[in-house]
């Protein structure tokens, strides 16, 4: 048992919980990536309607703690995931950009909802047509607002992406709860 080699991505409970996991050999890089997905601290940051669904996601019913994602940090210095939940107005844009810059590397961004992804139903003087105009986005989630399930799926996709060490690129989650 103790010499058994377990690939990093196959570590499973109950060994994880008891700590009786034996010895595992894997690339340090993989270990770090795996650890990152297990200790993500999102920034407690909501902009508009989508933030209410984000709150619902980490509240009692959907319970984001199941994915180890419930430790929301109010300070950008302690966070490594920014969920842009809502529409970004031109007045708010510099603030969002500043928050992003204040987050330590490595950091990821989820654009939650149509507004953050592409401006949504507003195409006018006040709203930024997608938060990717000011910060790089890793995962886009469609929906107005996306259902909590869609947000969770998006987060899991981000975990996958980090585990596989994919270069920064975009994942689009479509056809999920298009009707909010």
């Amino acid at each position: 048992m103790s010499n058994q080699v377990i690939p990093a991505n196959q570590l499973r409970a109950p060994e994880e919980k008891t700590g009786a996991m034996g010895t595992a050999f894997f690339k340090l890089e993989d270990a770090v990536r795996w650890a990152r997905t297990k200790s993500m601290w999102p920034l407690l940051f909501g902009l508009a309607c989508c933030a209410i669904e984000m709150m619902a996601t980490f509240a009692s019913h959907y319970d984001l703690a199941r994915f180890g994602m419930e430790v929301y940090r109010a300070s950008p210095r302690q966070a490594d995931l920014m969920m842009v939940a809502g529409r970004v107005s031109r007045k708010m844009a510099p603030v969002v950009r500043q928050l992003y810059d204040q987050m330590p590397e490595p950091k990821w961004v989820i654009a939650m909802g149509d507004c953050a992804s592409c401006g949504g139903v507003y195409n006018n003087y006040a709203i930024l047509q997608g938060v990717d105009e000011i910060i790089p986005v890793d995962v886009y989630i469609s929906g107005c607002p996306p259902r909590p399930e869609a947000l969770m799926y998006g987060i899991l996709q981000l975990h996958e992406k980090i585990k596989h060490g994919e270069p920064r690129g975009q994942i689009r989650i479509e056809n999920w709860g298009l009707r909010g």
């Binding site: 407690l44 940051f45 909501g46 902009l47 508009a48 309607c49 933030a51 209410i52 669904e53 709150m55 619902a56 509240a59 009692s60 019913h61 929301y72 109010a74 950008p76 809502g86 529409r87 107005s89 031109r90 007045k91 708010m92 844009a93 510099p94 603030v95 950009r97 500043q98 928050l99 810059d101 401006g119 139903v121 507003y122 195409n123 006018n124 003087y125 006040a126 709203i127 047509q129 997608g130 990717d132 105009e133 000011i134 910060i135 790089p136 107005c144 607002p145 259902r147 975009q170 009707r179 909010g180």
Partner: protein
């Protein structure tokens, strides 16, 4: 504590008819009077406006100025029919030379007489200045700033006439008709390279991006976010140099969104607080001018996102008032029923977040647990959890599905028990009492002056609920009451919490009665007026006329008659009013939303001084603002 006289008992106060009284007093300075859909509008000369407002307040018991807004008649006078000229046919815009461009509207409300009246002044483009009413009603402060910001009308004598919603660097006034919507073209392409090209390649260092605004056909480039701090800091006199200026928000976990408060503190104690809003300004009012009436409903959802159905209802009622459409009985019942479920869901979030801000996190998880059941109900009727757009002009989008009543009945049964649970958790909780009783106390006089409505007004002992006083959707036929503070005439955090729980119980009562009626009432949920509502599918195959109606409705929508109306409803936060001005086309000429959060927020700078920063989060939660509702 003095025992308050509930306002309802003073209704014996005789108030004269405002039109006759003002005519007597100001003679020919009252230029014209119109009656339209039961709304009285007096067009007055600009110079007597403050005096007329004072007369309304002191002699005629119009104790609140609920709303100030403006319309722009640019280009309108020549081309399209003009509501103003139709309403006041003895006073065309071109009476003044050159023709007037702006029309500022003031809405006054009298609780004692249960009446509304509107004053209006016409202003020319190069002389768009009106006297301020802030001396008469302090609550118009934010509203006048909003009109200045979005319309460019100046108010002489206003204490702080600065942009309120848009960044200080904004050029132009977006709600003017010659200001372009300013959209970016949408790329309809499946070519992934083209889409990728839009992505940020090299992210520049933290430097505000440049924003491009279109003004009068040309473009101006201005840095966004410039001058963010200037306005707040200018406001405070810090010559003694012993105080600190602290910036709270717009990114702060307890400001309920992107509210920013500029604070001046001495140690922990707050000396001055000034809300800075507009970080969620979405341009919804402008966008609505480019949508047909039916499509505009979807935008209303997204303003007060804790109570989307109330927003739908207000808009639909306003259009129905303009078009004089009747709504079938069953739709009325559904509107009441779902409106009250919305109220409960909204109050749940309000109480939950209020308690969480003060430290009682478990209340938040309880509240969100119950909110899910309300979301299930919305999802059942519309397919969407939050943005339902379920109410339409003339009725509701669809009939409710099977099993709806059972679900709602189950919800009601559960909620009665859960409210008891909340009471057990908080009512006598010493920490909660310590942090809320007497905190943020404000008086009835302040509430009336500052234009507070809804629970915030009732907490000061005013028995005023639009569902009862100026009933709509058949609320008058239900047996319920609007809880208000009967013990004193000051409101505080605890009183608001108490009232919200009581209101939820009353809402449950209404829902029970509505369920009973729903069982007995069949029939359509949409009006049969084919000018507004599409014909049912089966009819399309049989009748050519139905086909035409259907085609017309879906291609160009309906065209309300020329005119403007104001319709107010009691949203969970207070008076939610829609002013819709129609020029007879299929798109509104102007939609203005009088949102309760916008007015209620004004109390913050009034009550915050003297408290510590940790109390401030409770005070913000007390005002129960939704930033989408404040900024639109």
């Amino acid at each position: 504590m003095a025992i308050a006289t509930p306002l309802s008992e003073t209704t014996t106060l005789r108030v004269g008819d405002p039109v006759t009284r003002l005519r007597e007093k100001f003679g020919d300075k009252i230029l014209a009077v119109s009656e339209f859909r039961g709304e009285t509008t007096l067009q007055v000369a600009r110079e007597i406006l403050p005096d007329a407002a004072r007369a309304l307040r002191d002699e005629l018991a119009f104790d609140q100025c609920v709303d100030v807004t403006a319309l722009d008649w640019h280009l309108q006078a020549k081309n399209a029919p003009n509501p103003h000229e139709l309403l006041f046919n003895d006073s065309p815009l071109s009476d003044i030379e050159p023709p007037a461009r702006f029309q500022v509207l003031y809405h006054f409300l009298s609780h004692a007489a249960n009446a509304r009246v509107r004053l209006t002044v016409l202003l020319q483009e190069d002389d768009a200045v009106a006297p301020t009413l802030t001396d008469v009603y302090r609550g118009v402060n934010f509203f006048e700033r909003e009109v200045y910001d979005l319309m460019g009308v100046r108010f002489e004598g206003h204490p702080f006439l600065q942009r309120i919603l848009l960044p200080q660097t904004q050029v132009g006034h977006p709600l003017r008709k010659d200001f372009a919507l300013g959209y970016e073209p949408v790329e309809f392409t499946h070519n992934i390279e083209q889409i990728e090209a839009r992505k940020v390649k090299n992210v520049p260092p933290a430097r505000p991006r440049q924003a491009i605004f279109e003004v009068d056909g040309g473009t101006t480039e201005v840095p966004i976010g410039g001058g963010l701090t200037a306005t707040i800091h200018e406001r405070f006199d810090d010559s003694a140099n012993e105080t600190m200026l602290i910036n709270m928000g717009p990114h702060h976990p307890s400001t309920h969104g992107v509210l920013r408060v500029g604070l001046q503190t001495a140690g922990e104690k707050i000396i001055g607080a000034m809300p800075d809003i507009g970080y969620l300004h979405t341009g919804i009012e402008k966008n609505m001018e480019y949508k047909t009436y039916t499509k505009a409903i979807t935008l209303t959802d997204r303003m007060d996102y804790l109570a989307p159905l109330s927003n739908n209802l207000g808009f639909c009622l306003a259009v129905e008032k303009l078009m004089q459409v009747d709504v079938p009985e069953r739709a009325q019942i559904l509107r009441v029923l779902l409106g009250e479920v919305t109220r409960i869901a909204s109050h749940l979030v309000a109480i939950g977040t209020n308690a969480m801000d003060i430290g009682a996190v478990s209340m938040f998880t309880y509240a969100f647990r119950e909110r899910e059941y309300a979301m299930d109900i919305f999802e059942m009727v519309s397919g969407a959890r939050m943005m339902t757009s379920y109410f339409r002009v003339g009725g509701c989008a669809l009939d409710v599905p099977m099993g709806f009543s059972d679900q709602v009945r189950e919800f009601v049964r559960m909620m009665y028990g859960r409210i008891k649970e909340y009471r057990a958790l908080l009512d006598k909780n010493p920490i909660w009492e310590e942090r809320t009783i007497g905190v943020g106390a404000y008086t009835r006089a302040d509430a009336l002056q500052l234009g507070l409505t809804g629970p915030m007004l009732r907490a000061t002992g005013v028995n005023w609920d639009l569902r009862l006083a100026q009933s709509y959707s058949g609320y008058e036929t239900y047996d319920f009451e609007a809880p208000y503070n009967t013990r004193s005439d000051t409101g505080d955090i605890y009183e608001l919490y108490r009232l919200k729980l009581l209101e939820m119980e009353q809402s449950l009562r209404i829902i029970e009665q509505a369920l009973e009626r729903l069982r007995k009432t069949g029939g359509p949920v949409m009006t049969t007026n084919r000018k507004v509502a599409p014909p049912p599918k089966q009819e399309l195959q049989q009748s050519m006329e139905s086909l035409i109606h259907h085609f017309k409705l879906w291609t160009e929508g309906f065209k309300p008659p020329v005119g403007f109306v104001y319709q107010a409803i009691e949203s969970p936060r207070g008076e939610l009013g829609y002013l819709i001005s129609s020029d007879g086309t299929n798109k509104p000429h102007r939609v203005h939303v009088r949102t309760p959060s916008f007015a209620n927020l004004q109390i913050l700078s009034h009550i915050a001084p003297g408290y510590s920063i940790s109390d401030l989060v409770g005070l913000i939660a007390m005002t129960d603002i939704v930033l989408g509702d404040v900024d639109r």
